[in-house]
Amino acid sequence: MTPTFWSKLDVWARQLTPFGLTVLLLLIGVVPLHIPGFGAVAPVLPLIAVFHWALYRPQLMPTVAVFVIGLLQDALTGTPIGVSAAVFVVVHGVVNTQRRFFFGKSFAIVWLGFALVSTGAFVATWVLVSVFYGVLIQPQALFFQALLTLGCFPLLSWALLRWQMAFLRA
């Protein structure tokens, strides 16, 4: 057992954390919180994580990983399998092409960027699910879900940034 083995293992473990943290957020998002009415408007936490890692550490969050997270989200939340997977992959792709624009911009701009991307993601999910079932899904709950997700963004993004500073100083 040479020290290089351990250091390699260490680097490897650190590099897995973006995926691991996103999955953890996904699981936390579906645990029953016993708050009246919350279940229908629970924020989509993995969307925040996918956006964050696509922006700051895209090499640690490959597209395939995003796809797997989307499938997991579908399986756990009961949306038709494939919907979140497609939406998350597209979000990842869009953020990836706009990374240069966000470099060196203030947090408010990043937040605004997330607002635009997440709105697009929610609308896309709404359209896909509505087409899948052949009925129009009521948009009220969706609206609040989008708002809550947007509201969670600063806190989560800050926490993920701290994590990144502490463990992923590449």
Partner: protein, 304 residues
């Protein structure tokens, strides 16, 4: 050159994955049973983690509830006294009716309904957001949970088991878009279908044109189609407005911590095509006459 190939490969990965997702959606539309099994497999894999994550939150929720009940102690007491008065009167009536019922049944040689078996399970995930209303339970086929069984609490019907794995099961709530339940409304026992639409208040469909429905009418399962036994409480009519009748379920989704999965021995229209694996095992177990329930505390027999 290498860079260009890499960019191309990258683009290809995006397109490929989005197409794969699209193909999965199509497959889900074509073979819903297969997808439901896949979903349950995934749920089962993460169930132990969810079980651990949900416990501290349940503990906090319990403390909050306790504090609330301390604050409301006086009012609660008043209310309970009044309820007790009222219920004692009802008890007398019920005893009388019970005795009368037993005598009449004897006279008519009525065949009693078989006892139902139930399993108590923890709710380990409450998910779906705006697109689906479902729960994940910590019990599966190994504890006798089977597809199509009713999920209830003391207050009323929660939903039905949509998919079952070995140690986890998914519940389709009565508010879900895909939920359709034959019901009886009010004292007239008007037949209708209770249809979820992902809002908190499902609607009543296919009523007779001359049906008279008023706010506050009780809604119970009718037992038609053989998916649920008749008479399970569901909710009360909340609003009646031009052609749209909405029902408030008795069960509050956010308060669910433990639920009962009841096997009434009904397979109804939900009978699973034999496919092997856990599902067919549970179907076979439901088909054969049941021996005495297993000793664990969670199992037991209850009169429907």
């Amino acid at each position: 050159m290498v860079g260009a190939i890499r960019v191309l490969a990258h683009r290809f990965a995006y397109v490929g994955l989005v197409l794969t997702a699209g193909a999965l959606m199509m497959l889900g539309k074509a073979d819903a049973v297969l997808m439901e099994r896949l979903r349950v497999q995934v749920n089962e894999a993460v169930a132990p983690i969810l079980e651990i994550l949900s416990q501290p939150i349940d503990a906090v929720a319990r403390v909050a509830e306790q504090v609330q009940s301390w604050i409301a102690l006086h009012d609660e007491n008043e209310r309970l006294y009044r309820d007790r008065e009222r219920l004692l009167q009802w008890q007398t009536v019920a005893r009388h009716l019970e005795a009368e019922n037993a005598t009449l049944r004897q006279l008519l040689k009525f065949v009693p309904e078989p006892d139902a078996r139930f399993v108590t399970a923890r709710v380990i995930a409450d998910s779906g957001g705006a697109f689906a209303h479902s729960l994940l339970l910590s019990a599966g086929a190994s504890s006798g949970v089977g597809k199509g069984q009713a999920v209830v609490t003391g207050e009323g019907l929660v939903g039905r088991i949509a998919g079952v794995g070995d140690g986890a099961a998914r519940v389709l709530l009565i508010t879900d878009l895909n939920s359709r339940i034959p019901v009886l409304v009010g004292s007239d026992r008007t037949r209708a279908i209770l249809a979820g639409d992902n809002s908190n208040r499902p609607k009543l469909l296919y009523l007779k044109p001359d049906a008279v429905i008023a706010e506050g009418d009780q809604v119970v399962t009718s037992g038609h189609a053989g998916a649920f036994p008749p008479g399970l409480a569901i909710g009360s009519v909340a609003s009646v407005s031009d052609g749209e009748i909405r029902v408030t379920p008795f069960v509050e989704r956010s308060r669910l911590e433990y639920v009962r999965v009841v096997d009434y021995g009904l397979t109804g229209i939900l009978k699973e095509p034999m496919r092997g694996g856990a599902l067919s095992v549970s179907a076979a177990a439901a088909a054969e006459p049941k021996p005495k329930p297993k000793p664990p505390a969670a199992d037991g027999a209850v009169k429907p």
